[in-house]
């Protein structure tokens, strides 16, 4: 599913995003990527989505090499992903339903199926009653749930959530992670970045990767708690 071999990422200004990363993530895994701000979590997600390319080493996502010459392949990977961005990236001037639908319009799906999935996803995140509301009128938490609905409606092979607990208090953050856990389908890989390590204790499921100074290591739950 995800295979990184000796991957490094150095930005044009010389900042090191990732260093010699060796990593395998299998289909259906639930993975938390934790670490302090600026440690390289977002750099890793950027590589996963083909926003950045490895400076050295090789990286494969869903069997496709992440390389600047693989524009079509990267688009194909993105179509199989359900991203939940830190700032949600909802499209203003559109309703919640339109935002969820828009994420599927270019997929090879019949129109009726698109609308069915969109309504169903909004129901699963508890926002069906807000489907006709413009996203700019929704609260921060509601906006986040629309972003999640957009991700799951696509029935992706992989869900990626960047700091979904970022602006939430403890209870709401746990609820958010619970929601993402409950929405996960059997074969879907879920990758969540967070710097709120204390939350992970609250959840049973998931492998933990610790990122620091661009290095990624597996971490036990005890280690995360410490």
């Amino acid at each position: 599913m995800i295979k990184a071999e000796d991957v490094s990422l150095v930005y044009p200004d010389g900042t090191v995003g990732l260093k010699d990363v060796e990593l395998h993530i299998e289909k259906g895994e639930f993975v938390y990527i934790i670490g302090p701000s600026g440690s390289g979590k977002t750099s890793f997600l950027k590589l996963l989505m083909g926003i950045e390319y490895p400076s050295s080493g090789s990286m494969q996502v869903l069997g496709q090499a992440i390389h600047k010459d693989e524009e079509k392949g990267i688009r194909n990977i993105r179509q199989q992903m359900g991203p939940v961005f830190q700032d949600f990236k909802l499209i203003r001037g559109r309703t919640a339903l339109e935002n969820v639908v828009l994420g599927m319009r270019f997929l090879n799906l019949p129109k009726a199926e698109i609308y069915f999935r969109a309504e169903e996803a909004l129901q699963r995140v508890g926002l069906k009653h807000k489907k006709s509301s413009y996203v700019e009128t929704l609260s921060w938490g509601q906006g986040q749930r629309v972003a999640i609905a957009r991700a799951i409606a696509r029935k992706p092979t992989m869900i990626i959530a960047d700091e979904p607990t970022g602006n939430l208090d403890f209870d709401n953050a746990v609820n958010m992670l619970d929601l993402l856990t409950s929405l996960k389908e059997k074969d879907t890989t879920v990758i969540i970045t967070t710097h709120a390590t204390h939350l992970i204790d609250e959840l049973d499921e998931g492998r933990i990767l610790y990122v620091d100074n661009g290095n990624i290591d597996n971490l036990s739950r005890e280690g995360a708690a410490l």
Partner: protein, 293 residues
């Protein structure tokens, strides 16, 4: 099976949304495009009118051939037939001395009494030859070999000047046509670039979600196309009003000018405007999208 028109309603709605995002600027752009197209239709109208006049004048282009006055009737008929067979000659006929005299009386009008001072008719008979203007050199070359011809009045100066005017009209028309076409394309591509800039966040989000370029670009393409077609429509309406109200007056005021009737060029101009605005819209939109890449 994939339905290629599945997203048509979405593209149209998106194009409308993009239009509304920068409403005032887009309205001004439509008016600019409309006015540019209006100028283009005026040029086209002028070109059609001048073409019509030139065509009429061309039909009237003639040379006068003065022949040996002692020529027998049979020889004259033979000469007339041979002249008529030269390529580029529309018509050839003999104008008698009396007819020449009468024509001069018509030309001189009140001053015709001056002709009374001549004891005899001072005019000779000649062969009046209507020719195709561009064949003048060829005809004169052919006539050189005719022994019974004394003198040819070829009106070369007038014909050369007329051909010069025609060339200027054609070149000027082409330059203006190209200039306006390019102007419109630049405006359209700029509008599209502006639209893409205003919607850059949305475009980036769609790219991250894996949307193909065609899906992202089509609403912008449609917006550009709509702007030019609406601009073309405005130009068409303005031009039609002008023809109905203004051209009729000119037509009645200048009865001596061989002007075509206004209705004769309504369909050519409207058809041209529709095709041209669509073409410019497509090219301008493509150019705008390509330059963003």
């Amino acid at each position: 099976m994939r339905n290629p028109f599945k997203n048509t309603a979405y593209y149209i709605k998106e194009a409308k949304t993009i239009f509304k995002v920068d409403l005032s600027s887009n309205i001004l752009s439509i008016l600019s495009i409309g006015l540019i197209f209006f100028i283009l239709t005026l040029i086209l109208t002028g070109w059609l009118i001048s073409n019509n006049i030139v065509e009429i004048i061309e039909k009237e282009t003639e040379i006068s051939i003065y022949y040996n006055e002692g020529l027998e009737k049979d020889s004259l008929d033979n000469l007339l037939t041979k002249i008529g067979n030269i390529q580029g000659i529309r018509d050839a006929k003999i104008v008698s001395e009396d007819e020449s005299y009468d024509r001069m009386v018509d030309i001189l009008g009140m001053e015709a009494k001056i002709l009374n001072h001549f004891e005899n008719n001072p005019f000779s008979s000649f062969i009046e030859v209507k020719i195709e203007m561009e064949s003048l050199d060829h005809i004169l070359n052919e006539l050189e070999y005719f022994q019974d011809i004394d003198y040819i009045r070829d009106n070369r100066q007038v014909i050369d000047r007329l051909q010069g005017i025609i060339s200027i009209i054609e070149v000027l028309g082409l330059i203006l046509f190209l200039a306006i076409g390019i102007c419109t394309m630049i405006i359209i591509s700029h509008i599209i670039r502006q639209g893409i800039y205003n919607n850059r966040d949305e475009i980036y989000t769609l790219k991250l979600l894996g949307a193909p370029d065609g899906f992202i670009q089509l609403p912008f393409f449609m917006e550009g196309l709509f702007l030019t077609i609406i601009g073309g429509g405005i130009a068409g309406v303005l031009w039609f009003i002008l023809i109905k109200l203004g051209y009729g007056n000119i037509y009645n005021l200048l009865p001596f000018m061989p002007l075509p009737h206004g209705d004769e060029f309504v369909w050519p101009v409207i058809t041209f405007l529709t095709i041209f605005s669509t073409f410019v819209g497509i090219i301008g939109s493509r150019f705008g999208l390509k330059s963003i890449k």
